[in-house]
């Protein structure tokens, strides 16, 4: 009986398996596990410790989280990050959608517009930041120069606590538009022509076609764009780092920027990880709320 079982195990062991498929999958899976999943668990562990890279992490329980809740600058960073989301996400969705509608109409210059609308997205965020620092300069910036023709006084886009968040947001919207635009355009081109034709025969106005045909058809893509944009905005860093360095007076600081400072500048990796865990929870919560709110029926 025992021999039979052993033979059975051996035969299962010797059964030829087509491993090639696993090898192909492994090229993605192993780096993903090593560089994406493992760091999440390691970060979660580090968030309960005091650690500065050198030496062993020292377990401190919930102390880092307590410190984070008592840290005024953490509160400012989280508030700013949510504000970035409230400014950037709607702007990207609305403007991206409008641009896609324009190009989809195949009006004159729409081919050129397609390239122009997408091109900022291929440039790195750092370059975008540097360009916009120059564009938004209070005294010599192009934006203030043209606003001057309208009789508008110089706006301190990046040097005032009231404006810096908006200044960074403008650059971010300009950068992020490209992806939203492409996704919306692809979705618009997938809307069946016969729906438009039927609506036209029924005498629907342009507005009714937009509201009753296009938007319902685009619901899944809108949901995708909002989710992607939310996650991207909650992780905003490069523009903040390059354009304002979080200032003035932390008015444009974001959570990732704050984490960077605590971890890389001050080597408080445990504390920075605790803040990262809080952001992780925030992103999950917002994503769930969003999915529930825009769930496809």
């Amino acid at each position: 009986m025992a021999m039979k079982a052993a033979r059975g195990r051996r035969s299962a062991d010797e059964e030829p398996v087509d491993w090639v498929a696993y090898v192909f999958v492994a090229f993605f899976t192993i780096p993903f596990l090593l560089f994406n999943i493992a760091p999440i668990f390691f970060g979660a562990y580090v968030s309960f410790t005091k650690w500065g890279i050198f030496g062993k992490p020292k377990w401190v329980g919930l102390q880092n989280f307590r410190d984070a809740f008592n840290d005024e600058f953490v509160g400012i960073a989280f508030t700013n990050t949510v504000l970035y989301g409230l400014v950037i996400v709607p702007c990207v969705v609305v403007i991206g959608f409008t641009f896609a509608l324009y190009v989809n109409q195949r009006w004159p210059l729409s081919a050129l517009a397609r390239t122009l609308f997408f091109s900022p997205y291929v440039v790195s965020a750092t370059v975008i930041g540097l360009v916009w620092v120059w564009m938004l300069d209070t005294q010599f910036g192009l934006i203030n120069h043209y606003l001057g023709y309208l009789g508008i006084d110089n706006v301190p886009w990046l040097t005032s606590t009231n404006w810096s968040l908006l200044g960074v947001s403008i650059a971010s919207v300009w950068w992020d538009l490209g992806l939203a635009f492409v996704l919306f355009l692809a979705a618009l081109q997938d809307v069946p022509r016969d729906l438009y034709e039927a609506a036209e025969v029924d005498g629907a106005s342009r507005w009714q076609r937009l509201w009753l045909i296009i938007l319902p058809q685009l619901r899944p893509v809108i949901s995708l764009v909002v989710t992607l944009q939310l996650i991207s905005t909650l992780r905003i860093f490069s523009q903040v780092y390059v354009m304002t360095n979080g200032g003035p007076a932390s008015s444009s600081s974001s959570v990732i920027f704050y984490m960077y400072n605590e971890a890389i500048q001050r080597q408080l990796f445990g504390y920075a990880s605790a803040v990262a865990m809080l952001l992780f929870l925030l992103i999950i919560a917002i994503t769930i709320i969003h999915r529930v709110a825009i769930r496809e029926r």
Binding site: E14, F54, T161, N245, A249, Q267
Partner: protein, 440 residues
């Protein structure tokens, strides 16, 4: 006809194991064999501007002089903001560079953790003439809380002194030979050189930014001039004479709001001064090469006496040695650093700050080498009044006045932006710093 590749689990496991072994073996370098090859000393630096070019010349000179002596320095330039993290990560894995640039007084934590090593003994062994270094530089290179050991070989001494656009001075009808010696005259000069459109400053008499390093370090200098101390001499009491600290905050605020000689609208202070958007800019000797190259018409003067005593910010750059698994490397590294220090005439005349070595300062050509004394002199002579340095405790970076993102800068930024009252800011600074001092 295509064949399907079939392997049993066992064969697959064996293949994976062999591949992993081969990959691991290829990753590890061949063992270091002493004497067989020239010794390569690994040096990391964050100097990346014009001072970095001069430092690279220093390293090249060393390598040329030691071509046939079996030792070479391999320098790697690391971005400044990543430097500390990279050194720590390298040290944690036993791969730290042999030596690198550090700023005196900021490494108490590293000294405690053993990331940097004490250098008294190895300096003695290699015959580095410590008696030739200024007493103050050696004092700053030690950590009183760690047996007062030497953790750095000083390379250059820096201070913050006012660089002044001479065209603006002349345009305002002022005498370049009579730069202000006190706070009141300084404000008069600044007012005369400031340009405004309506109520808005378009050219700052005193170059400031609304946040970041410039207002923080200005506060730090003025506060200490007014009698404030970040820590008592015995490092036990924080924020001695807080009223002076508050008065200095008000002095900075007045530049923007009362005297209107500065604007918060400047983002890049170096660029702004270089393009004539500011008249008086207190900064360090690291700016000299750049401004001289671009032919900016400027002179440098001693920091005026705004408070009760004339003093300014002090910073010392030097070589720190990182922990090595093979302790024999310290001596070879010290030999290299000794050569660099002995031959630092170029570095301390054209590279960056003033020399900490008496023999170089007394060199007959010291004042004539490098940039003209009009622009360089204050950075050498001014070391006599540069006393506002680092606080050598574990949380030293929290006390640094030359910072745009530490606890101090973030707290003060709220004052400059009108979001926090001066009293409240000082109370918070005092509380945090006291905790920091108590922590050791």
């Amino acid at each position: 006809m295509a064949k399907t590749m079939s392997l049993s689990r066992r064969q697959f496991a064996k293949a994976v194991g062999k591949t992993a072994l081969l990959a691991t073996a290829a990753t590890f370098p061949a063992p270091f064999v002493k004497g067989a090859d020239p010794i390569t000393i690994n040096h990391w630096s964050w100097l990346a501007a014009s001072d970095g070019e001069i430092w690279a010349q220093m390293i090249n000179s060393f390598n040329d002089a030691h071509k046939d002596k079996g030792v070479q320095i391999k320098m790697e330039v690391i971005p400044e903001e990543q430097y500390n993290t990279k050194v720590l990560a390298a040290a944690a894995t036993g791969n730290a560079p042999d030596f690198g640039w550090g700023t005196a007084g900021q490494r108490a934590q590293w000294a405690q953790d053993g990331v940097i090593v004490p250098l008294d003994d190895v300096a003695k062994q290699t015959g580095l003439d410590l008696a030739d270094f200024s007493e103050f530089s050696l004092k700053m290179a030690r950590y009183p809380k760690y047996d007062n050991k030497l953790f750095m070989i000083p390379m250059d001494l820096m201070s913050l002194q006012p660089e002044v656009n001479i065209d603006h001075v002349k345009e305002a009808g002022l005498d370049p030979a009579a730069f202000p010696q006190d706070g009141a005259t300084l404000i008069e000069w600044a007012k005369a050189m400031t340009k405004r459109e309506g109520d808005k400053v378009t050219r700052s008499g005193i170059m400031m930014t609304g946040s970041g390093v410039q207002p923080t370090v200005t506060w730090g200098i003025v506060a200490e001039q007014m009698g404030f101390q970040r820590a008592s001499d015995d490092l036990k009491t924080a924020a001695v004479n807080p009223e002076a600290g508050k008065a200095a905050m008000q002095w900075v605020l007045d530049l923007f709001d009362t005297h209107k000689v500065s604007t918060r609208d400047v983002t890049d202070r170096y660029k702004a001064f270089g393009t004539g958007q500011g008249s008086v800019f207190w900064t360090g000797p690291w700016t000299l090469n750049g401004y001289v190259e671009q032919k900016l018409p400027f002179h440098t003067y001693l920091f005026p006496k705004i408070g009760e005593k004339q003093l300014t910010y002090f910073e010392m750059g030097g070589m720190e040695f990182y922990v090595q698994p093979d302790e024999a490397r310290y001596e070879a590294s010290m030999q290299a650093v000794k050569w660099l220090s002995d031959n630092s005439f170029l570095w301390t005349t054209k590279g960056r700050g003033a020399s900490p070595r008496t023999s170089l300062l007394n060199h007959p050509d010291y004042k004539t080498a490098g940039h003209s004394w009009d622009v360089r002199g204050a950075f050498v002579d001014g070391m006599a009044i540069a006393t506002a340095g680092e606080i050598p405790v574990l949380a030293g970076p929290n006390f640094t006045i030359y910072s745009g993102g530490n606890f101090l800068a973030k707290t003060l930024e709220q004052v400059w932006a009108g979001q926090k009252k001066i009293d409240q800011a000082m109370a918070e600074i005092q509380e945090q710093w006291q905790k920091d001092l108590d922590a050791g």
